[in-house]
């Protein structure tokens, strides 16, 4: 009887471990980006902030953007290490930009006529993954663009590296670390 209880306990524990492992891997089972095979890194929304941007796209208006980095990337950003070491991952989160009348009203007494903007809805999230051997042909970086959790097509991913080529002197990364105010 005692033995059966122990066996049941062991099975339950094992099942728990399997379930936990499956869950902890998060997005890892989901689709990978074409060409580079990059999947969405688990927990990237919790990474530290590199900087913020506004970017204006033809026919798409302005976007508000935030770049975050994993621990390896953040260490390199803070210490100014270039090229970025293998294992660096940079995530760029892009949202639509919308005017905020509520904020304008609040700002108006102190700053009359101010136009302020906040984020609307998510557009996409992009990743750059450093692996100097695997991605030797593209400056050591693997690229990925996900919209609503799904990777963009091959044609889209063919534009990643040529677009980043002008930033070659900065290891193909546009963003600088925004210093603490």
């Amino acid at each position: 009887m005692k033995r059966i209880a122990l066996l049941l306990f062991a099975i339950a524990t094992l099942a728990g471990i399997v379930a936990f492992t499956a869950r902890a891997s998060g997005h890892a089972d989901e689709a990978a980006s074409p060409i580079y095979g990059v999947t969405i890194p688990a927990g990237y929304r919790d990474w530290q902030l590199i900087a913020v941007k506004q970017l204006h796209f033809a026919g798409m208006g302005e976007q508000l953007r935030a770049q975050v980095g994993n621990d390896i990337a953040m260490k390199a950003f803070k210490e100014g290490t270039r090229p970025f070491p293998d294992g660096s991952i940079i995530a760029a989160m892009h949202w639509t930009r919308v005017p905020s009348e509520d904020n304008d009203k609040v700002l108006d007494p102190a700053f009359p006529g101010t136009h302020s903007f906040v984020i609307g809805s998510p557009v996409n999230v992009q990743f750059m993954v450093k692996d100097s051997r695997k991605y030797a042909a593209t400056g050591g970086w693997g690229f990925a663009d996900f919209k609503d959790g799904k990777p963009g097509d091959k044609a889209l991913h063919e534009t990643c590296f040529p677009c980043h080529a002008p930033a070659k002197d900065r290891d193909f990364v546009f963003t600088d670390y925004a210093l603490a105010p």
């Binding site: 506004q54 970017l55 935030a66 975050v68 949202w95 302020s116 210093l179 105010p181």
Partner: protein, 190 residues
């Protein structure tokens, strides 16, 4: 001799502990903001992101809101009012253009898209990055200590120094329109 050595080790250890405590407290020796007595929280630049924003003319800045662990947990669970211990940091940078990004636009706009040079320049002008830091503001939740201001203590620091009392007297009245969301304007970015 042995006793002297032991004493020396003890003295060094105490000195080390004192030095460590001082350095670990970071900014806490610096000046506190008037009215609320809020200091710059140690390590706030490493906190997680709540959201981003931009303010146009005449301020022209880019902003990020970061939260400590208590703040992020409350945001994700949609918990209002925010629990005591919540700290929200609002970081602002002057908006500047990035030559590298402008070049990237010009290269791609000129060779791989059907945009006119005027259209490309419009994109270039509308693209801004975080430049020199402007200031940082904090909201600290302590429902007892700050009972008369919705439970929030406010602070603004320019270059590490607190802004004057007059500035801090405007904080709460400015945040009052957001009473329904516990005086916090920013929503969590999905």
């Amino acid at each position: 001799m042995k006793r002297t050595a032991f004493l020396c080790v003890a003295v060094v250890m105490v000195a080390g502990a004192v030095a460590f405590t001082t350095s670990a407290s970071g900014h806490s020796d610096e000046e506190a903001a008037p009215v609320y007595g809020v200091r710059v929280p140690h390590g706030y630049r490493d906190w997680r992101l709540i959201s981003v924003a931009r303010v146009g003319d005449p301020l022209n800045d880019l902003r990020a809101k970061l939260g400590n662990d208590i703040a992020i947990k409350a945001y994700r669970e949609g918990k209002l009012p925010f629990p005591d211990g919540t700290i929200i940091a609002r970081l602002a940078w002057q908006q500047v253009t990035s030559e590298t990004i402008q070049n990237a636009f010009r290269v791609r706009g000129g060779t791989e898209t059907h945009l006119s040079p005027e259209q490309v320049e419009k994109l270039v002008d509308g693209s801004l990055v975080a430049g020199p830091p402007s200031n940082v503001q904090f909201m600290v939740k302590d429902s007892t200590k700050y009972a008369s201001t919705g439970g929030w203590g406010f602070a603004q620091f320019n270059d590490g120094k607190p802004a004057d009392e007059a500035t801090h007297k405007t904080c709460f009245s400015c945040h009052e329109p957001a009473k329904d969301s516990d005086f916090v304007f920013t929503r969590y970015a999905p």
